[in-house]
């Protein structure tokens, strides 16, 4: 890999993943009291695979830096821009900055898209299972499927605490099955409580590939339910939040 360091390759290809670039925030949409979506215009945009992430880097005037990874929520058909949906973690460093400081028109430094395991490449049928803000990379898959292959079977099982915590509430259609773990809305006749066998069986189609994203506890429960329902372990892809609430690889 050392042979391919960007310094050597610069004149050839500027649109390589991995180069830091300065994007501009064009739109901020509050999704829930603690979640906001940020549309970011990128000078070196390149298409991503649904499920990939970007790294964001903040720099203080004295040179101190902080980096975090955030999943892309948008379809790669949105040329020239990406959407990052960020959950505000009170003891975090980067997510409170985005929530409390960043305004439309601000510049942010970032690079990506990265990682190619938790990505949807057109497999079907698909079962998506998201807990809380684990729905973000799954939304990229849902949005992309709507615009490219609307008939492709893709269901979403989405576990949230209360109605106020539903991210992308105005976009979820018939393909989504919700369950409320803390407090269902008034008059709710659907599922309540943690994800369970009934919920999984309702959404699962034979030979489905599953993408599960959420907290470790959610992912453990959901993946075990799928294995119990007969899904091969090789068809179950998971991403678990790190301590900062962003999905990422093994540790």
């Amino acid at each position: 890999m050392d042979r391919l360091t960007p310094d050597v390759m610069t004149p050839v290809e500027l649109r390589a993943p991995g180069r830091w670039q300065i994007g501009r925030v064009t739109r901020i949409k509050p999704e829930t009291p603690r979640v906001k979506s940020f549309r970011i215009e990128l000078p070196m945009w390149m298409p991503h695979l649904p499920g990939q992430h970007y790294d964001v880097r903040l720099t203080a005037p004295d040179g101190y830096q902080a980096q975090r990874s955030y999943s892309i929520a948008s379809s790669p058909l949105d040329e020239g821009e990406i959407e990052l949906t960020i959950d505000r973690l009170d003891d975090g460093e980067v997510s409170p900055y985005f929530h409390d400081i960043v305004e439309e028109g601000d510049q942010v430094e970032l690079r990506g898209p990265f990682a190619s395991y938790f990505v949807w490449r057109g497999e079907e049928p698909v079962l998506l299972a998201g807990g809380g803000s684990g729905v973000v990379p799954l939304m990229a898959m849902l949005r992309h499927r709507r615009r490219t292959m609307p008939d492709l079977p893709m269901r979403l099982v989405y576990s949230v605490r209360t109605a106020a915590d539903v991210i992308y509430a105005d976009e979820l259609g018939d393909e989504a099955v919700l369950t409320f773990t803390r407090e269902p809305p008034d008059g709710w006749s659907g599922h309540a409580g943690r994800i369970d066998r009934q919920l999984v069986e309702e959404a699962l189609e034979p030979m489905a590939t599953a993408f599960i994203c959420g907290s470790n506890a959610f992912v453990e429960t959901a993946s075990q339910l799928l294995l119990d329902a007969g899904v091969e372990p090789g068809r179950v892809r998971t991403e678990r939040f790190g301590p900062t609430g962003v999905p990422a690889p093994s540790a």
Binding site: M1, L4, T5, P6, A16, P17, G18, R19, W20, I22, D55, R57, L58, T59, A60, P61, Y64, Q65, A66, Q67, R68, S69, G92, E93, P96, Y97, I101, D106, Q107, V108, E109, F114, A115, S116, Y117, F118, N216, V219, E220, S223, Q224, L227, P233, G234, V236, R237, T238, E239, R240, F241, G242, P243, T244, V246, A248, P249, S250, A251
Partner: protein, 203 residues
């Protein structure tokens, strides 16, 4: 580096000065021990556990859990660095150095593929696994390694990003050429030195 300053950012999770030089670039300090796995968590009973070194070796070797327990264990105090940006400083593991294990098997080539129960793989050069740099560990901070952290046994290579420290280790295959493992084939760096910030392919 490029002079860019994030408007209004001051940094509220800075490490204290005495720890700052133990944090590689782009990392922050985390006191917990987050669980990150690409698939379901495998269950490996110690009665069925085996650890083997095979491939390009003079003598392929395999140890059962009981045989492994007879080997010389040592405490390994270390800092660990996850490519997702967190570092855990001042933690400890207990296990067997790979040096005596390789001495028993006698590698004939310079590369390895580490393989795990559950199908995970990661590639490492022999030189990153020898001279007191790598262990197969069974305990973390005085307790048996929890299943979600790779129990009953995982690899520990603290000088590289932690995805190299394969959980649920089943063995090491010595090979005559380098080949990417699981994350290395999925966008992450082939070697993963945190001090050189080797996170992704293009780093």
């Amino acid at each position: 580096m490029n002079g860019f300053i994030s408007r209004g950012f001051t940094g509220k999770r800075r490490a204290p000065d005495e720890l700052a030089d133990r944090l590689p670039p782009g990392q922050y300090r985390e006191d917990g021990f987050p669980v990150l796995t690409a698939g379901p968590t495998p269950t490996v009973p110690t009665s069925e556990w085996r650890f083997r070194i095979d491939g390009m070796v003079a003598e392929p070797r395999e140890w059962t859990w009981e045989e492994f327990g007879e080997l010389p264990f040592e405490d390994v105090p270390c800092d660990i660095h996850c490519v997702t940006k967190w570092s855990k400083l001042g933690t400890s593991f207990r296990g067997v150095s790979l040096d005596p294990l390789f001495e028993a098997a006698e590698p004939l080539d310079a590369y390895t593929m580490v393989f795990s129960y559950g199908g995970y793989t990661t590639n490492l050069a022999i030189e990153d696994l020898t001279d007191g740099k790598a262990w197969v560990v069974t305990d973390h901070e005085g307790e048996p390694l929890p299943r979600e952290h790779g129990g009953p046994a995982r690899l520990l290579v603290p000088h590289l990003y932690f995805w190299k420290s394969a959980k649920w280790i089943a063995g090491i295959r010595v090979t005559d050429h380098d080949e990417p493992g699981f994350w290395e084939a999925n966008g992450y760096h082939n070697r993963g030195d945190p001090w050189r910030e080797e996170r992704y392919w293009t780093d």
